[in-house]
Amino acid sequence: MRISVKALRPFKEALGSGDLELERPEGETVEGLIRALVEEHPAFRDHALDANGDIDLTLNMMVSGRPVGENDLDDPLKDGDEVLLFMPLSGG
């Protein structure tokens, strides 16, 4: 299935691009996608994973407009999903 990833700073530098079009196996989960990106882009590891190897709190994700909560990492992606990766920040 085809998944598009839009990564904002600082993740886009680590992934080499802010816009990725990926071919992924059917049934891949959100967490699976992130771990695959870590495999492929070692510079992304420090951003994506915390000291315990879990998905870092500061890697925020939305999948086709839905926020990915703590219990949604196992949700399977579907063909055509758009995944947005961004760091949660506030300011003005």
Binding site: L57, T58, E70, G91
Partner: protein, 610 residues
């Protein structure tokens, strides 16, 4: 310990008097915004003309300012706002606040009106009212340079010509860009014939446990620097937020007719114009850009409000708009909001060339908006109308302000379109000074993966994890209100504090650690947690005296009526019934009456603090 003097300056009489501040009062409100509000409650005549001599203008430094606590160089300026319907209060960084403390003063309260243009000079324990001859009529940069030229290594907080001419959203500036931007404090200065506060100090501040404080400060610095967010704030700054909001479809665009705009204003584009990152006093983060166009910034607010909101998509032009607002001393949030408002009214035919003095207002026209800013500053032609801000609504054929993005008469401070994030919406609706993210933005709402049990521990109650739901969102708003008010009393920058950004930044235990080492007091976390609600209630009482009723705690009409048209946030809007129910729950949590009024016993208690 940690104590500096408080002066009351009567500009009409030309007198300066130091007043005593009890430790009981200090422990009730600490400093900054909190103590300012205490004095406003006690000194402001309800119903006073905000641009008249009866308004009370207060410059108050943070409790922890000047002692090397991380990011602690902040102060608040407070008065009745000439822009909004309610209390005016604005927090500012830069270098003025520590200098004022070293000059021997932590707070200066100003009443009356000087018979001629003046400035107040504070040096090593003395306060003088001096003639502003030679300084009046200069913009915010020229006048600060002139003070340095004439007086040496001083720090000043100044208004520009916009303040002198009573533009209702004129701000107060220290340095190139640091602003007490919100709610028209520059106009209050102008109304008092006060061009500047100028400070020079060589005195130290007495600390109970200097070595312990230094060690603890080092620990806190390490803690702050260990966050993954800190280096991003320090290298990219708030422009990062533009691309986050924009990618998601939550950037106020063309007076909130749209919610998504050009990627030309993304942080990577801004980077091309950045000379280097700089910082406020005692800051370890340095989130500020010095730009190649000769100014500082832009922040996210500028990219949104003098960028997307007025239809500009060229980074160089937006930076120039930012620099112009800074030099003139105009609040960027309000300037961008009012110019976009007028442009939509023009596009819709509600106003015509006859109203605008021949200007054909159109989104995206850089030259036109630059000229309009200058005209606002000089109160010239149509600029004179827009200088009145929302007070011009009837003149501009929008008598109910249906097209205005304001709450309680104050334009929304930040460019985030809050129709998706319901807690953000409740936050700007209930904020004491009007629509403002710095009062109660519950940012932890966007830490989507924050475990429910961690959230429950932070908030003391379960909160619905769906950001688009109003269910239980009074809880994060109430929590954020309280901690942000406490931070503003301490004089700390919200960027390094819990709740505004990472949950792993400074919070009550850290504030207590700093306070006790600095003062020798034995403040507990529990005691400190009473400060925020006290400040919020004090502000509420001031607002009630100025006529606040429940219907003022609301949102711009568009946020209710118009669903967001674009992006991932498409279709979201504010449901009136859900909003009303959340507002009722918020009042209950705060201990207010169902009509939003403060309980009589609480009023008596707060009026009794001395």
């Amino acid at each position: 310990m940690l104590k500096r003097k408080t002066a009351v300056v009567d500009l009409t009489e030309g007198t300066v008097k130091d007043i005593t501040v009890s430790d009981e009062l200090r422990r009730a409100y600490y400093g900054g915004r909190g103590l300012n509000m205490h004095y406003l409650l006690n000194m402001l005549t309800p119903g006073a003309d905000p641009l008249g001599p009866k308004n009370v203008l207060i410059f108050g430094t943070g409790f922890l300012t000047g002692i090397l606590a991380p990011n602690s160089g902040r102060f608040n300026i407070s008065a009745k706002s000439p822009e909004s319907q309610v209390v005016g209060d604005s927090n500012c960084g830069g270098f003025f606040a520590p200098e004022l403390k070293y000059a021997g003063y932590e707070r200066v309260i100003i009443t009356g009106k000087a018979p001629e243009p003046s400035y107040i000079y504070i040096e090593d324990g003395t306060v003088e009212i001096r003639s502003a001859d030679g300084y009046w009529g200069l913009d915010t940069q020229e006048v600060q340079k002139a003070f340095k030229r004439d007086l040496g290594m001083v720090e000043s907080a100044v208004c520009g010509v916009a303040g002198e001419k009573l533009v209702r959203y004129a701000c107060v500036r220290n340095g190139v860009k640091n602003a007490a931007g919100r709610s028209g404090m520059g106009a209050v200065m102008g109304s008092k014939n006060l061009k500047a506060m100028v400070a020079r100090g060589t005195g130290g501040i007495e600390i109970a446990d200097p070595e312990g404080l230094l060690r603890y400060t080092e620990e806190l610095k390490d803690y702050i620097m260990s966050s993954k967010i800190t280096p991003i704030i320090g290298s990219v700054g708030t422009p990062l937020l533009y691309e986050v909001s924009n990618a998601f479809g939550a950037i106020r665009t063309k007076n909130s007719q749209l919610n998504q705009w050009s990627s030309n204003l993304d942080a990577a584009e801004i980077d091309k114009h950045v000379e280097k990152m700089i910082a406020c006093a005692d800051c370890i983060v340095h989130c500020r850009h010095r730009n190649m166009q000769g100014g500082e910034g832009p922040e996210y607010t500028a990219l949104g409000l003098v960028g997307a909101n007025i239809g500009l998509d060229n980074a160089d032009e937006v930076i120039r708009m930012n620099n112009l607002c800074n030099d003139l001393g105009l609040d960027i949030s309000s300037s961008g909001t009012y110019m976009a408002w007028a442009t939509e009214l023009y596009e819709k035919g509600l106003i015509t060339k006859e109203d605008t003095g021949g200007m054909e207002l159109e989104f995206g026209n850089f030259e036109q908006y630059s000229e309009l800013l200058r005209m606002i500053n000089d109160r010239e032609g149509f600029g004179d109308v827009l200088a009145e801000g929302r007070h011009a609504a009837a003149t501009l054929n929008d008598p109910e302000g249906d097209y205005l993005i304001t709450v309680k008469g104050l334009p929304q401070s930040d460019p985030h379109d809050v129709r998706y994030m319901k807690a953000f919406a409740l936050g700007i609706a209930t904020s004491s000074r009007g629509a403002d993210h710095l009062r109660s933005r519950p940012t932890l709402e966007i830490f989507f993966k924050l475990p429910a049990e961690v959230k429950e521990k932070i908030y003391g109650a379960k909160v619905n994890s769906d950001p688009t739901s109003f269910d239980s969102k009074e809880i994060p708003v109430h929590f954020s209100d309280n901690i942000f008010a406490t931070i503003d009393c301490m004089g700390l920058c919200k960027f390094i504090c819990h709740g505004f950004n990472s949950p792993h930044y400074l919070s009550y235990p850290h504030f207590v650690g700093l306070i006790n080492r600095a003062t020798g007091w034995e403040v507990t976390e529990e005691e400190l947690q009473t400060v925020g609600p006290r400040v919020i209630d004090t502000e509420r009482i001031i607002n009630i005296r100025e006529g606040l009723v429940k219907s003022w705690d609301t949102l711009p009409k568009k946020y209710f009526d118009d669903p967001m048209p674009l992006g991932q946030a498409k279709g979201h809007h504010i449901d009136r019934e859900e909003f009303a129910a959340a507002l009722d729950r918020y009042y209950e949590l705060r201990g207010w009456k169902p009509d939003g009024m403060v309980q009589e016993e609480r009023i008596e208690e707060l009026e009794g603090i001395a």
